[in-house]
């Protein structure tokens, strides 16, 4: 555990000093300012618009951090052989993958906290003094909870990104595969529901079987999107949220375990 902690520590330190991270934070701040300006153009339901936009900005910034910061860091480790620095020490490949995931995961969590605070501030400023309509059941607790689930979905995507980096020969391929996976994870459930409801294909057709298999293999990231619930102050089902948490954590753990298995077989020539 000590070795994993040390690897996570250097990964975190290296990443937190990366200028690209500050660039992403700066972009986030500009978008939050834009949120205040754009929300001001609406004449009603400003609160909903501000919350929805604030959470979307956190999600977007998180994706940028994964695609343009975490993936290149991990890819360069393997391509530029920085990994030799770690693996020539008495550590296993499992220590390396888990430590790296924890370090980059911590970056995502800290980014979510920072961007979450900025989002909250932008929502507060947007609705302040406008005497605007705020959903009756809106709560900052629900707003925070939706940020937590959004962060969990980013951590799941990060575990998938690790999987693709360790199975691809070039990190650009891994970026493309992670982007594809992200879109599939976000849309597959909707596509399946549309096809089944319109009865374009019979439920035992090959396409439906493939879609079913994909929905079982890849996570349904839409389930972690609680933006609408937070924006409209809708009631939440605690039990389903608990299951969602277990599902998200288990999926990431399984994905990282699979990555470790593949990485152990991989030669670092």
């Amino acid at each position: 555990m000590d070795k994993i902690r040390l690897i996570a520590w250097i990964t975190f330190k290296d990443c937190i000093r990366n200028k690209a991270l500050y660039g992403i934070f700066f972009m986030g701040l500009i978008l939050f300012s834009a949120n205040i300006i754009i929300t001001g153009m609406f004449t009603w339901e400003l609160g909903k618009v501000a919350v929805d936009m604030g959470l979307s900005i956190i999600s977007f910034s998180g994706l940028i951090i994964i695609f343009f910061l975490c993936l290149p860091i991990l890819g360069n480790d393997i391509e530029k052989k920085t990994v030799y620095l770690i693996l020539s020490r008495p550590v296993t490949k499992a220590h390396y993958i888990i430590g790296k995931y924890m370090g980059l995961g911590l970056i995502i969590m800290i980014s979510s906290v920072f961007l979450g605070l900025c989002a909250a501030l932008s929502v507060k400023i947007s609705v302040m003094g406008a005497g605007t309509f705020i959903p009756p059941h809106f709560s900052w607790g629900m707003f925070t909870l939706s940020i937590c689930y959004l962060t969990l979905s980013l951590l799941i995507l990060l575990s998938l990104a690790f999987f693709w980096v360790c199975t691809s020969t070039h990190h650009f391929t891994a970026v493309l595969l992670t982007i594809m996976t992200y879109f599939i994870c976000h849309n597959m459930e909707n596509v399946k529901n549309i096809i089944l409801s319109t009865k374009i294909m019979s439920s035992d057709s090959l396409s439906i079987k493939v879609i079913n298999a994909v929905t079982w293999i890849l996570p349904n990231l839409t389930a972690f999107d609680l933006k609408t619930t937070a924006a409209y102050g809708l009631p939440v089902n605690t039990l389903s949220l608990s299951w969602l948490l277990i599902y998200g954590v288990s999926y990431s753990v399984v994905c990282i375990m699979l990555t470790v298995l593949i990485f152990q077989k991989r030669e670092l020539s």
């Binding site: 070795k3 040390l6 690897i7 520590w9 250097i10 990964t11 330190k13 290296d14 990443c15 000093r17 990366n18 530029k80 052989k81 920085t82 030799y84 620095l85 770690i86 693996l87 020539s88 020490r89 008495p90 550590v91 030669e267 670092l268 020539s269």
Partner: protein, 248 residues
């Protein structure tokens, strides 16, 4: 006593039509306490051999032992200090931080580590730059930092892949001095190099590799009268004879 033992090791890269054998049936013994030079032209298989030794890649056949531990099966990396040909670092970290990480992960205690780090960085003339981010280092400084990382846990075996590459005369002098000190302290050093004058000065024994084939191993005194008047001539003769033999 044998520190490193290669037994009939072969390695092939690629698959199908692109398959290329880069190491043919290598058998080699490096004894404890000797400085062993590993020579060969570019593409001879020196770096592949080192990667096999560190378990970054696996052999197709044969086995490698480090101090009675079988590579790929037992834990042996705490015995080894490794300097890659082109050391790559996490560029946003400082030298102190990376030294702390390397020492700590190799099992060093906090107080021991602090003392070691200061001594080594001072020895390699990096103490003034220990709080700088590695991204600001020159190539020579990075190479010296790479050696500092290999030294930090005071291992018994040193594997140095082209340790003098990209160094100015001052850097070469420092690294030569460190290797000579390791030799005096009875450490085992296995290093590959193109700079034959350094090899002649430092090594007890050498091995010559060409296109993955092991052509010679033995003491420098054994090679000189037989193949040439100095190491450079002897080396060229061995490689050219092998190439002529292959070309018919």
């Amino acid at each position: 006593m044998t520190a490193i033992q290669f037994n009939n090791v072969s390695k092939t890269y690629g698959q199908g039509l692109k398959k290329q054998k880069v190491l043919h049936d290598l058998s080699l013994s490096i004894m404890t306490g000797e400085v062993f030079g590993f020579l060969g032209p570019n593409g001879a298989g020196k770096s592949t051999t080192i990667k096999l030794l560190l378990n970054f890649i696996r052999p197709d056949q044969g086995d490698i032992h480090v101090k009675q531990c079988r590579v790929g099966k037992d834990n042996y990396l705490h015995h080894i200090g490794y300097l890659p040909e082109t050391p790559c670092f996490y560029e946003n970290l400082t030298a102190s931080e990376i030294m702390y990480f390397s020492g700590k992960i190799s099992g060093l205690k906090q107080d021991q580590l602090k003392e070691q780090t200061q001594d080594i960085l001072k020895r390699l003339k990096l103490d003034h730059a220990q709080s700088w981010q590695i991204g600001t280092y020159s190539k020579g400084m990075k190479q010296r930092l790479g050696l500092a990382l290999a030294l930090v846990h005071d291992p018994e075996i040193y594997i140095l892949d082209e340790p003098m590459s990209g160094l100015d005369p001052m850097g070469r002098y420092l690294i030569t001095d460190v290797i000579l000190e390791l030799k005096q302290r009875g450490k085992t050093v296995f290093f590959s190099s193109h700079i034959l004058s350094d090899v002649e000065k430092l090594c007890n024994r050498i091995a010559i590799l060409n296109k993955g084939k092991h052509l010679f191993s033995g003491a420098i005194d054994e090679i000189l009268p037989q193949y040439g008047s100095n190491l450079e001539h002897a080396f060229m003769n061995i490689i050219q004879t092998d190439d002529r033999g292959k070309n018919g």
